[in-house]
Symmetry: C2
Subunit: 245 residues, 2 copies
């Protein structure tokens, strides 16, 4: 059986940086999804399994908390593991480190496995062979939990028409694109002077191409920004961005 915790090596390639010269949040976010799939596949519940059973892993929550993001040419590793399977949900944790083991940051996430046909989440404790239950490790990243975001009745700061380039293979707006939409609401000066070091995402409802998304934003203190992405009255995604002090 593969190890319960698996580690994958990467390098920050040219064109993977943002304007600060560090690995961009979108590349990092998509790599977290990728290693999640590598790890799930190694343990029998990756993309091949979900395709064959007509199910899909759906991301419900994601927190990425970086001490620093690696720069062009830097080697780094992403480790991932599960610590708890609780009925319809599993957590999944990540550590982002240098090859020497220095911690660059952590991420933590919550996932459900949804049946395509009836859109009902599967009981993950009842998967064949115990599913992930047997590979859970009693270890969680030392980062704080998510904050409470509630923006109430305010005016949107921007709108976004969901289009081809936002979509994943299932035709939904890619989870990581919402991080970009949130980051785009900060000014370049904010990104340059105090780069975002922590991103909290809560995913409630999926959106499809052609839908107009409205983006709402409220600042909580000097360096914390709460955002909601809504379609009409429905909140699809909540986000909190925290800039480095």
């Amino acid at each position: 059986m593969p190890e319960k915790k698996l580690t994958y090596p990467f390098v920050v390639e040219p064109f993977q940086e943002d304007i600060t010269g560090s690995l961009s949040w979108s590349v990092l976010g998509n790599l977290l999804l990728r290693v999640a799939d590598f790890h799930a596949s190694a343990h029998g519940f990756g993309s091949d399994y979900v395709k064959a059973t007509r199910r899909a892993w759906v991301l419900a929550r994601l927190i990425i908390d970086m001490k620093r993001r690696p720069m062009t040419g830097d080697k780094y590793c992403i480790s991932t593991w599960i610590s708890k399977v609780f009925r319809q949900f599993t957590d999944r944790h990540f550590a982002i480190t240098t090859p020497e083991g220095e911690v660059l940051g952590y991420a933590t996430s919550i996932w459900a496995l949804i049946d395509y046909q009836d859109r009902i989440p599967v009981d993950l404790e009842e998967l064949p062979g115990g599913g992930f239950v047997d590979i859970a490790i009693d270890e969680v990243p030392p980062i704080s939990g998510p904050g409470r975001i509630r923006l109430g009745k305010i005016d949107p700061v921007a709108t976004h028409l969901a289009a081809y380039s936002d979509l994943d293979i299932n035709g939904h707006v890619n989870s990581i694109r919402y991080i970009d939409l949130a980051l785009n609401q900060l000014t370049l000066d904010q990104h340059r002077s105090n780069p975002v070091h922590r991103v909290e995402m809560t995913y409630a409802i999926e959106s499809l191409a052609g839908e107009t998304l409205s983006i709402y934003k409220a600042q909580q203190g000097e360096l914390t920004h709460d955002l909601e992405i809504r379609r009409g009255e429905s909140t699809l995604v909540k986000a909190r961005l925290i800039q480095q002090a």
Copy 2:
């Protein structure tokens, strides 16, 4: 000395596909830029050289012509080489193949090396040690040249506010993001029924964060779409997309 033509292996990873299930144009486009840098670096004129000399490689033209794009899990290779250096410009070609050598597509591009300070292009035939002149190969991809795009006075079909997630390390809108902006103007039905197989891009002027880009589009025949991306009266980028018959 490294080979004149260099080849880099890749795999279509999960989350690198578009809604058709094939490698997305944006991932492919960014990989072309990446292997261009790998090849240029191997021959002494990559990102380290341009950083040290305060210059930047600027993409003036890019044509990508795919017979088919690889799908999730498929292995593929990108080869790149130079065939001609002509004063301020160098071409750069690409072949995208299966590991067995079956051609999936080709790309061709034209680049200039711009001095940061005075924004003047360097004479590439006068680079130290002959620059790329000595590694040119008398071989060009068997794809047709660019079409002539001139949209004239029409109304824009969309606008786009250039933001953080569009920018590269130099603070300009990433060349490949313009391909996404063009592709977003086709409907999902068009992408699904007749996927785009050829993209032609001409880059004239760079844009910065905070600028509002207007997108103009005219259909030429059933499967050919010409686009211009303008900032006010200035045309920044021209694009032609051709769907598979």
